[in-house]
Amino acid sequence: MLVHIPSPLRSYTGNKSEIQSDGSSVDDLLINLDKSYPGIRFRMIDEQGGIREHIKFYVNREQIKSINIALNGNEEIHIICALSGG
């Protein structure tokens, strides 16, 4: 499936803004992403499995609140860094 990577995370993906990956759930997808791009998952997901405050996930343009969402492999995933700070 297609995963859109926001600019703050592209240091992990060799500056790629779009990558292909797979997983049976969003959690599984992020584990697979971390295998390809070590360290990327912990920047988005904390040690208790929670989505970090300023990270948002969209599956087929619908925001999800938990990474325990099943995927069938045809979805498009957007990872968003919420606008904040100064």
Partner: protein
């Protein structure tokens, strides 16, 4: 020829000032990690090429980087500090706040302090970190740190390892107090007797104090100096009671501040950077007149050093990691302000000059000295 690099960690990246042993001319480089919050960068006291750095960005979770070539290249930790998995109510590291090298006999060991309060250990020079269970899962944890976060978060800092005993360590929490372990972190006890906590209903509490910066003297291992929310203190072990040496500061200046720096060879000499701790705690230079104060008699008396610093209308804030020293025969001192200026003294604080302005808010300053 001896070289010196001053690493400047800011809210928007890492910068470096470099000079030779004369410390007269400085070259500026950076930014590295532009946009990253650099909470602490720590040179390795055991390996003159190595550094470890705690960082995060506004959006992303915290991480740690390490360098083996004096900061030219950095590698991200494979496993950054993270609390043990405990479900939705489990603790989550917001940021790595403090980094300390371990004992000389353990050249690969490092310690990290975090917000919320936690201690993490690396035994591979900063590549992988594990929770120090004796502290993070201590049965008294909820009691010790019940006061909750200060405006910048409740952070663990000032991890000091006794050079005479690798098992003897100190760690400090704002607001929580000073804690001591004699078994390398398995068991801990508060060490706050004599420290005031005038913001508490009971000022004589055993813990809940607000240490801002605590330094174990590198040449006298039973002596520690402390800059606290409620004054400047010294303790000489095995005594368990701190002495308020800040009471000898001028009354109009007070003894509130964030950093405290000790002379690396003279246990009687230390420097502080007082700030305004009145009313709503502006945390700026008293009366807009920044100055360093020094003692040469372990706090019995204090002397004002302000030559070269602005004489008025200057409201500096210097954070706890943002003042340090080098080890030259005539000690050099350095501090960074929240307004993004780095100031240096070549004469042990007597006079000061500004090395660079207009950096982002400065969180930490640390010195690396090496031969080339």
């Amino acid at each position: 020829m001896a070289k010196i690099s001053v690493f400047v960690g800011t809210r928007k990246g890492l910068f470096v000032l470099s000079s030779d042993e004369t410390r007269e001319k400085w070259t500026f480089s950076g930014p590295q990690f532009l946009g990253h919050i650099i909470y602490h960068v720590a040179p390795d006291s055991r390996d003159k090429n190595r550094l470890v750095m705690a960082a995060k960005t506004g959006h992303l979770g915290p991480t740690v980087y390490h360098s083996s070539d004096r900061g030219a290249n950095w590698v991200e930790s494979t496993k950054p500090p993270a609390f043990a998995k405990a479900g939705e109510d489990g603790k989550v590291v917001d940021n790595g706040f403090w980094i300390s090298p371990g004992h000389n006999s353990e050249p690969e060991r490092w310690y990290a302090g975090t917000s919320p309060p936690g201690i993490f250990v690396s035994d591979d020079r900063g590549a992988n970190w594990a929770p120090l269970e004796g502290f993070n899962d201590n049965p008294k944890y909820a009691d010790w740190f019940a006061q909750g976060a200060t405006p910048g978060g409740q952070m663990l800092h000032s991890i000091n390892i006794n050079p005479s005993d690798k098992n003897h360590m100190y760690a400090c929490v704002s607001v929580g107090g000073v804690f001591e372990s004699t078994d390398q972190g398995n068991k801990w006890k508060p060490l706050n007797k004599g420290i005031q906590a005038d913001f508490m209903p009971d000022p004589s509490v055993e813990y809940g104090h607000d240490p801002h910066c605590v330094v174990l003297h590198p040449a006298k291992h039973d002596r520690l100096y402390q800059q606290n929310h409620c004054g400047i203190y010294r303790i000489d072990r095995p005594s368990n009671e701190w002495i308020r040496i800040g009471k000898n500061m001028p009354k109009e200046i007070g003894d509130i501040g964030f950093p405290i720096v000790v002379h690396p060879r003279d246990p009687e000499t230390a420097w502080v950077f007082p700030m305004d701790g009145t009313e709503v705690w502006p945390r700026t230079s008293p009366d807009g007149k920044p100055s360093v104060y020094t003692t040469n008699d372990a706090g019995e008396s204090w002397k004002r050093f302000d030559k070269g610093l602005p004489a008025k209308n200057a409201f500096f804030t210097v954070k706890r990691q943002a003042m340090t020293n080098d080890n030259a025969s005539k000690i050099g001192l350095y501090f960074g302000t929240s307004q993004g200026e780095v100031w240096a003294s070549n004469d042990e604080g007597e006079s000061w000059k500004c090395l660079v302005s207009y950096l982002p808010e400065i969180y930490c300053i640390r010195v690396m000295e090496y031969e080339e």
